[in-house]
């Protein structure tokens, strides 16, 4: 007990401990900044991929025969089917919407809270969470980032090849 008190009161080597603390703080801050940018980049990339999928689903499901009468209408069931097809085939998610890297490591998962499609006006709304891990997962658990995306198509002139 006395020895421990002596060590604690002693001024010898306190500079070294101070340097260790500073190095630890610098490393932790650097890791936090790098991790923040990694997750932000990943979130933006997934947001972009989802938007593209929703836009293309709405575009595919538009009913062109209604456009002749200057009326925009969509097959909402087809739009939803096309979105899931896109998620499975193009984004290569599994049945539970998990994404794995080429090496087989889990990267992220999509938690779809609601997918709402309306025929008129033609609109697809996707709400949910992106679930992923960070290097601080041992402290915070899994990270859940919310997304709320809308895709609408109001074009009433006929598209595609003549």
């Amino acid at each position: 007990m006395n020895k421990a008190l002596t060590i604690l009161k002693s001024k010898h080597g306190d500079g070294l401990i101070f340097v260790f603390i500073i190095v630890f703080v610098i490393f932790t801050l650097t890791a936090m900044v790098i991790e923040y940018y990694r997750m932000d980049t990943m979130y933006q990339q997934i947001d972009y991929v989802l938007r593209r999928g929703m836009d293309s689903s709405v575009e595919y499901a538009m009913l062109d025969e209604y456009r002749r009468d200057r009326y925009a209408r969509m097959d909402s069931v087809l739009a939803q089917e096309k979105l899931y097809e896109y998620l499975y085939e193009s984004v290569k998610l599994d049945q539970d919407l998990n994404k794995y890297s080429d090496e087989g490591q889990w990267v992220y998962a999509l938690e779809i809270e609601s997918l709402t499609a309306t025929d008129d006006p033609p609109r697809l709304v996707l709400k949910g969470y992106l679930k992923t891990r960070s290097i601080f997962s041992f402290l915070t658990g899994e990270v859940r980032l919310p997304f709320n995306l809308t895709s609408a198509n109001a074009r009433i002139d006929e598209g595609g090849s003549p």
Partner: protein
């Protein structure tokens, strides 16, 4: 009193000989500070000049991303794509070459069907100036850069049977 005035550095002291000035310690911190300052400024200038390489790469990446987005929205390699490309070239001052590859056209008019993927590749050779002496041409290093981004068409082309 007189003795003190006659000492080196005293009131009526004669100028120091060069050897004495060089070996003397007086004012050495001032010179040390000047040399350190010059070294720090040189290092900072070097680091800043290297940053230009990253800026060029980021610009190239941005150009590629924009072109991919235009093709995705248009669903075809139209004049609009090349207009955007030339405008970006003017804005950034870069002159890369563009190649569109891994693409399947749905007809003979460079149209890309909905959800078909394509890749835009930009290539650029950046000349990094190491230093430019006044009497001779600048010393430059060519740094090859390449950016590839894959996109997906968002346009549905209704094709005639």
């Amino acid at each position: 009193m007189n003795k003190q005035r006659r000492k080196p550095g005293g009131r009526f002291s004669p100028p120091f000989p060069l050897k004495q000035v060089l070996s003397g310690r007086a004012g050495s911190t001032y010179f040390e500070l000047m040399i350190k300052f010059i070294i720090v400024i040189t290092l900072m200038a070097t680091v800043l000049s290297f940053l230009s390489i990253f800026t060029v790469y980021l610009n190239l990446n941005h150009m590629c991303g924009r072109i991919v987005r235009v093709i995705e929205l248009d669903g075809q390699i139209s004049d609009n794509v090349y207009d955007v490309f030339f405008r970006l070239k003017e804005q950034t001052g870069l002159s890369p070459t563009i190649t569109i590859e891994d693409v399947t056209y749905c007809d003979g008019q460079q149209r890309i069907q909905l959800r078909e993927t394509f890749t835009v590749r930009l290539k650029y050779n950046h000349s990094f100036t190491v230093f430019s002496p006044s009497s001779s041409p600048p010393l430059q290093i060519g740094i090859p850069m390449e950016v590839r981004i894959t996109g997906m068409s968002e346009k549905y082309w209704k094709l005639l049977e």
